[in-house]
């Protein structure tokens, strides 16, 4: 029996697959760039979906991990480009897989530190303390001159992947699709796992989970770190898409935009982040082309979705989530 949600998901996958073909037929290579953006923002939102959708951790600091991932890509690339060693004499690199691993490690470590301190709080306090950490990193990036400060870091040429010409839009899009698919699979595996059950349990009833001998704090910390790692990889890809990274990736506006994506699509839904990212990118592209007052209309549309389409677009198309 195919549920309506499954139907929506299949349609979505077909649509994403259709983009490269449409771009070819219409001779519009920019559609590839748009689809790449959707995949990357979608991946970042998948990470958020684990912490937020499963764990109920509403934060306002995820731009920190997105930006840290971006800076890892930028800093490694610029050192490789200039042939200068980094901290501890390590060389830079322009190989994507290596950059991703470093992005995962660095953003995971940062998240471990932040999470250990912030997860003692909850609710609005958690939202605000994560924002505080993100702001600290933001101001640090702006005033630290070594990697461009507010000007950001331009590394001219996209990083490479063995055997793939990443400078062309299509291969890079496929890499991003592949990582998005991995992220979605990871989300599904986690949701079905005992860890996922404990995480959702901790959201619904903290005392009951604690009574079974599992520490809700530790469960949440692990979720927080996994989320940061996924967001970090997405940040590294985003830097590669733009061949540029700047403190704007760390700003609270970026955190706001990522929240927008996930609520647009549907919180806790497997494909919610991808639908939300798709809708957001299309709105931005379409409205921006029509009027310079596009932010006004974007705001009104977002407002409409929150007020009248609870459960996001997937909720609208597929009805309430089914368990199992």
């Amino acid at each position: 029996m195919i549920t309506r949600e499954r139907l929506v998901e299949i349609t979505l996958v077909l649509l994403l697959a259709a983009v490269p073909i449409a771009a070819q037929l219409l001779n519009e290579p920019f559609y590839l760039t748009l689809a790449t953006r959707v995949a990357i923002l979608g991946l970042a939102a998948v990470g958020l979906n684990i912490a937020l959708g499963l764990g109920g951790l509403v934060s306002f600091g995820h731009a920190a991990f997105f930006g840290v991932g971006g800076y890892v890509a930028g800093v490694l690339a610029i050192h490789a480009f200039n042939g200068t060693p980094m901290l501890l004499g390590l060389p830079g690199t322009k190989l994507m897989p290596f950059i991703w691993i470093v992005a995962i490690l660095v953003s995971g470590l940062v998240a471990l530190g932040i999470g250990a301190l912030t997860l003692r709080t909850s609710g609005v306090y958690f939202i605000m303390i994560t924002l505080a950490f993100a702001q600290m990193i933001y101001y640090f990036a702006i005033s630290w001159p070594a990697y461009g400060g507010e000007d950001g870091l331009s590394f001219y040429v996209r990083n490479g992947f063995p055997g793939v010409d990443t400078l062309k839009p299509l291969p890079f899009l496929l890499i991003c699709y592949a990582l998005l698919a991995l992220g979605l699979i990871l989300f599904q595996v986690l949701r079905k796992s005992r860890f996922g059950a404990a995480l959702q349990g901790a959201r619904q009833n903290e005392v009951r989970v604690a009574a079974t001998g599992i520490s809700p704090y530790r469960i949440r910390l692990v979720a927080f770190v996994i989320w940061a790692m996924i967001t970090g990889v997405a940040g590294a890809l985003y830097a590669d898409l733009n061949r540029f990274v700047s403190p704007a990736m760390l700003s609270w506006h970026m955190s706001g935009e990522l929240i927008v994506l996930i609520v647009l699509g549907g919180v806790g839904r497997r494909f919610g982040p991808v639908v939300g990212a798709g809708l957001y990118v299309l709105l931005e592209y379409w409205l921006g082309g029509i009027t310079e007052r596009w932010q006004l209309f974007l705001g009104l549309m977002l407002l409409g979705v929150v007020l009248f389409a609870r459960g996001g677009l997937i909720g609208l198309l597929a009805g309430k989530p089914r368990h199992g």
Binding site: L52, I127, L302
Partner: protein, 306 residues
């Protein structure tokens, strides 16, 4: 640093703190009564400043403009509550964050549409222009002293309103038990609109008073909004007393950090490097303070309802 300069910097910190208090008082009141996170509070601050500049340009009177700003911001707040916010009370924080984030976009672009892209002109009224001597030979702006005075008056007024009046009683009842006041026959919808408009009016007042010191432009509310959130989190969300103490703490720490850190570091790093490093550290300082406070007191200095 001489003691005269120290006194002046303390006054500066106090003035910044008082201004933050006007923002934070509304935020914390709205959260305390309705349980709502309002990211668009900074937009109401902007509405106050723009209304003040427009009325001042039209009538030539700053004090009329101040009243106009209060009314405009309170009206904008009431409208916002009736059209949008009312539907968000039962929702989780996520929906509230998103909806009020969307409101920021709407308010910013609508303001630019109405007033054009260039910053507006607004000056201190003639009666408050000039400076007064401080002990030790320095001078201090009369207008900033007036802001401190207004802020303290608002703090006392708000305290009396909440502790002594019928409206205040309902607000306190709303903070402790929402079902209860409905059962008592209080029109809760009107109460919420009034509380929201009150908070909005305070934000508008802050914006209008700060307008003559700063640039009246689109987006001016956002840096203040973030600081106001820091204030209420440090003070304890929902606590008026916490908002006042948190605001003054943030104002003084921020000002003193900016004034003192580069000097402290210049012995270590030399003047040029100390200027940049000190400035970087100063911009991170209040967030650092907030993290330290929350690690030791996860619900702020004055947790509401304790």
């Amino acid at each position: 640093m001489s003691s005269a300069l120290l006194v002046e910097q303390l006054l500066n910190g106090l003035q910044l703190g008082v201004m933050l208090y006007l923002m934070a008082a509304g935020l914390t009141l709205i959260f305390g009564v309705m349980g709502l996170i309002n990211l668009a509070h900074g937009s109401l601050y902007m509405v106050g400043a723009f209304a003040c500049a427009a009325v001042a340009a039209w009538t030539g009177s700053f004090f009329l403009a101040l009243i106009g700003a209060l009314i405009a911001a309170a009206a904008a707040g009431a409208l916002m509550e009736i059209l949008v916010i009312r539907r968000l009370y039962g929702r989780d924080h996520l929906d509230q964050v998103l909806a009020t984030f969307a409101l920021i976009l709407v308010f910013s672009e609508a303001t630019r549409w109405l007033f054009g892209p260039f910053p507006l002109y607004l000056d201190i009224p003639a009666i408050l222009q000039g400076t007064v001597p401080l002990p030790g030979g320095s001078r201090y702006q009369i207008y900033r002293l007036a802001i401190i005075g207004v802020g303290i008056a608002v703090a006392i007024g708000l305290y009396l309103l909440i502790s002594r009046t019928r409206l205040g009683m309902r607000i306190r009842a709303g903070e402790s038990d929402r079902e209860m006041i409905a059962a008592l026959g209080v029109d809760i919808r009107t109460l919420y609109t009034v509380v929201f408009a009150l908070g909005a009016g305070l934000a508008g007042l802050a914006g209008a008073m700060i307008g003559p010191l700063q640039s009246v432009q689109v987006g001016m509310g956002e840096p203040v909004l973030i600081l106001a959130f820091v204030v209420i989190v440090i003070g304890g969300i929902g606590s008026n007393r916490g908002a006042l103490i948190g605001a003054i703490l943030v104002g003084v720490v921020d000002t003193m950090g900016r004034a003192l850190l580069p000097g402290v570091l210049s012995g270590l790093l030399g003047p040029s490097a100390a200027a940049t490093t000190g400035s970087s550290l100063a911009s991170m300082l209040i967030y650092l303070v907030m993290v330290v406070i929350l690690v030791f007191r996860p619900r702020g200095l004055f947790p509401a309802g304790s």
